[in-house]
């Protein structure tokens, strides 16, 4: 049963990723990305990271993707269409490279063994929320400052020149 879910989700994710990579139209690529995010949320659920799965859906599928679509609508479509496709030469150089990297990673993962503490976290959402507001309070505040800074930056960059 576990493996069946895994097979389903991973196939879905892989095809979505291929779509992000190779679909010519940017809007299609973004749609493919949404599909990937849904697959990812499923994976997180399968891995029992329920909080993360929910946040994934809220932040990525709603906030970020909507942002992309908004930006695409502000840019004239002809301009967007003008730069479709991908570089062939870079692909031929890059693909074997990344294939090699994947092989190395796979070797490391399959051969390596992970420290098994035997701990099983029961109430995932509660635990994560607790540690987020106790142990990782300061990084959380820093993250909020980063978000604020990014917001100000985006406004400054995106506003119209007088």
């Amino acid at each position: 049963m576990e493996w069946l879910i895994f097979a389903l989700l991973s196939t879905w994710a892989i095809f979505s990723a291929m779509g992000v990579l190779f679909l010519k139209n940017p809007v299609h690529a973004i749609l493919s990305f949404i599909s990937l995010i849904l697959a990812m949320a499923g994976m997180f659920l399968h891995l029992r990271a329920e909080l993360l799965a929910g946040l994934q859906l809220i932040i990525y599928a709603v906030a970020i993707v909507v942002f992309y679509v908004l930006v695409i609508t502000t840019i004239p479509w002809e301009k967007v269409k003008k730069f479709e496709g991908f570089y062939k030469r870079e692909f031929f150089f890059g693909f074997p490279l990344l294939l090699g990297s994947f092989a190395l990673f796979a070797y490391a993962i399959l051969k390596g063994s992970f420290a098994n503490t035997g701990l099983v976290v029961k109430d995932n959402v509660r635990e994560v929320g607790k540690s987020l507001f106790s142990t990782y309070l300061f990084p959380l505040e820093v993250a909020s400052v980063i978000l604020l800074t990014a917001m100000i930056g985006a406004i400054l960059l995106g506003r119209k020149e007088e």
Binding site: E90, F93, G94, L97, S101, L104, F105, Y107
Partner: protein
């Protein structure tokens, strides 16, 4: 502390003249220079009176502290050094006074530089004489080399003078190189540079290494004293002003070599093999220079060769184990050689610095009586005629030579004969003989001014009476030598014979000198060319070096180095045209390179275990 004044007063004069010479003027510079020499002379007399009874040393400061030995600069006054210092400062002061008259026509043309150099020269020589360690001597040694370079090339607008100064510097550098290595060897042997330390330990060290060290040190003396084979600079140095020649030959430069060997004599004494080399070099140089002097016609060059010859005799005496007579001859020689040079300078001055050949003068006896008198005294002293100073000192050397072996005795006698001959040849041609200058110079030559003649007269008196101090001098140095009546008579007769030959040839005209030269042309040329040594050095060594440099210039410089330099341009350009493909400014390409680096890092972290 009064001993310090001896050393420092010329230095102070040098510094004041060097820094403020253009403000205070040439005459004031000259006076300062003379005062520096005079103070130095007075205090060295005082130091001598003190040092004779009890040698003393003055420590100046620690120069180079090391782990187990500290090189300190200091002065050491013993009879040898203090008497030499007195003689040096005395003669130098008189020459300084003389130079005021000699250089008077150049006043107003930055002549203060000349006096600054003179003061520096005297200071450096005093440093050699008085220093209590070898490093101090080396400083003085180099200072003398520098000052001589500056002074020989003082008329630097003349090609001849600048070449001569360069030659002097180069040949001295070869000698200095030996000297430096000698100092290093000495330090290696004794672990100390102090003269007193060395004298204390001299019998304990390895004889073979000591001999090597002595030979290296003697190499320095050869360069400085113009002995074979580093001799060619000495006659060429005559391109400098005459007071410089006098200073160079009488008191400062060339005396340094002889003095240094005498100063370090305990070292040489303990390495008898090195003394043989010293004697051999001295003897050969004495004969060589004497022969060369007989064929030259330049007023000053004859005297210069004479200096070489006399220095050779001194080295011979040192080599034969007679330090006292060598040093005594150095002292008397300083007087009469300075006198001869000043007389020669007086003649050159009379002809407004245009005449340098003895055959362009002649019959000067009537016009320049004081110069004639002083030249005569100097020549007689040089020839070793009783009772002038040269007789006493040279007689000691002759006696020593005959004591050691008949061969050296005959050699010294031959040299004495040659000496008497060539110096009187010069004297007779210049002061008697026909007045060759008539068709060149309309006006008659005149006697030099008092500022020039008074030093000459003083030196003349010293050249006459200095010989009587022989017993005193020997007593102070702790050597007692008997005068051999037979040898004394022999050497006087030899000297008189030389004078007689010169008289017969050049005054009586018994043989026509020109015809004799024609008849003996190969011999004459050989002598005049200094047995072709100078030509050998100039053509083969210097010329060969130049040729070699030219070849290197054409091949290594033009082809190899220039080629390499020029090749960098296309190489860099080619590399740039290849590398600029990488710097395309495309984000994707940069991302690809990042991925490449990423793979490399992965490879290292995962597989490299």
């Amino acid at each position: 502390m009064e001993g310090l004044v001896v050393l420092l007063s010329p230095l102070i004069a040098f510094l004041i003249i060097g820094f403020f010479g253009s403000r205070i003027g040439d005459m004031a510079s000259a006076v300062l220079c003379i005062l520096g020499g005079l103070f130095s002379f007075i205090f060295s007399l005082w130091a001598t009176s003190k040092a004779i009874s009890q040698p003393f040393s003055i420590k100046l400061y620690d120069f180079l502290p090391m782990e187990n030995y500290t090189i300190s600069l200091g002065l050491y006054f013993d009879p040898l050094s203090s008497i030499t210092a007195s003689v040096v400062t005395f003669v130098a002061t008189l020459i300084f006074i003389y130079s005021v008259g000699y250089m008077s026509n150049l006043f107003g043309q930055w002549t203060f530089k000349f006096y600054a150099y003179l003061s520096l020269f005297l200071f450096a020589m005093l440093l050699i004489v008085l220093s209590d360690n070898l490093l101090g001597i080396f400083f003085g040694w180099e200072g003398v080399g520098l000052a001589s370079y500056l002074l020989i090339g003082y008329f630097h607008t003349q090609k001849k003078a600048s070449n001569a100064s360069l030659e002097a510097f180069t040949l001295n550098r070869i000698g200095d190189w030996f000297f430096l290595f000698g100092i290093i060897a000495t330090f290696y042997l004794f672990g100390s540079l102090s003269i007193l330390d060395i004298f204390g330990k001299v019998s304990e060290v390895d004889k073979a290494l000591l001999g090597l060290a002595c030979l290296l040190l003697f190499g320095g003396a050869v360069g400085k004293s113009g002995q074979l084979p580093l001799h060619t600079w000495l006659p060429n140095a005559m391109a400098g002003p005459t007071p410089v020649s006098a200073l160079l030959h009488a008191a400062t430069m060339v005396a340094a070599g002889v003095y240094m060997v005498a100063r370090l004599y305990p070292m040489f004494e303990n390495a008898p093999q090195s003394l043989k080399v010293v004697a051999l070099v001295g003897g050969i140089t004495a004969l060589f220079a004497g022969l060369s002097a007989t064929s030259h016609t330049d007023i000053k060059k004859i005297i210069a060769f004479s200096t070489m010859s006399q220095l050779g005799l001194m080295f011979l005496a040192l080599g034969l184990g007679d330090k006292m007579s060598a040093m005594f001859h150095l002292t008397t020689h300083a007087f009469f050689k300075a006198l001869l040079f000043l007389s020669a300078g007086s003649i050159i001055h009379a002809f407004h610095h245009h005449v340098h050949d003895i055959y362009e003068t002649g019959g000067l006896k009537r016009y320049m009586p004081i110069t004639y008198g002083s030249f005569l005294v100097g020549a007689l002293a040089l020839a070793g005629i009783f009772p002038l100073s040269g007789f006493w000192s040279k007689d000691l050397i002759v006696a020593t030579a005959y004591e050691v072996s008949f061969f050296w005795g005959v050699l010294v006698s031959v040299v004495s004969f040659l000496t008497a001959y060539y110096i009187f040849r010069e004297g007779f041609v210049m002061f008697h003989g026909k007045e060759h200058f008539r068709h060149e110079h309309k006006e008659e030559p005149h006697e030099s001014p008092g500022v020039m003649t008074i030093p000459m007269v003083v030196l003349g008196v010293m050249a006459v009476v200095a010989g009587f101090f022989e017993g005193w001098y020997g007593g102070i140095l702790g050597v007692k030598k008997e005068l051999h009546i037979g040898i004394a008579i022999l050497s006087v007769l030899v000297g008189l014979a030389g004078i007689g030959v010169a008289y017969l040839v050049y005054v009586r005209g018994l043989i026509d000198p020109q015809k004799a030269y024609e008849a003996l042309k190969p011999l004459h040329t050989t002598f005049k060319e200094q047995f072709f040594t100078e030509r050998l050095y100039h053509k083969v060594l210097a010329g060969g070096y130049l040729f070699y440099s030219k070849i290197l210039y054409m091949t290594a410089e033009r082809q190899l180095i220039d080629g390499l330099v020029n090749a960098t341009h296309p190489v860099v350009r080619g590399a740039g045209s290849v590398l600029r493909l990488l710097q395309a400014g495309k984000l994707n390409l940069y991302a690809l390179f990042m991925a490449f680096g990423f793979l490399a890092l992965l490879f290292i972290t995962i597989l490299w275990r």
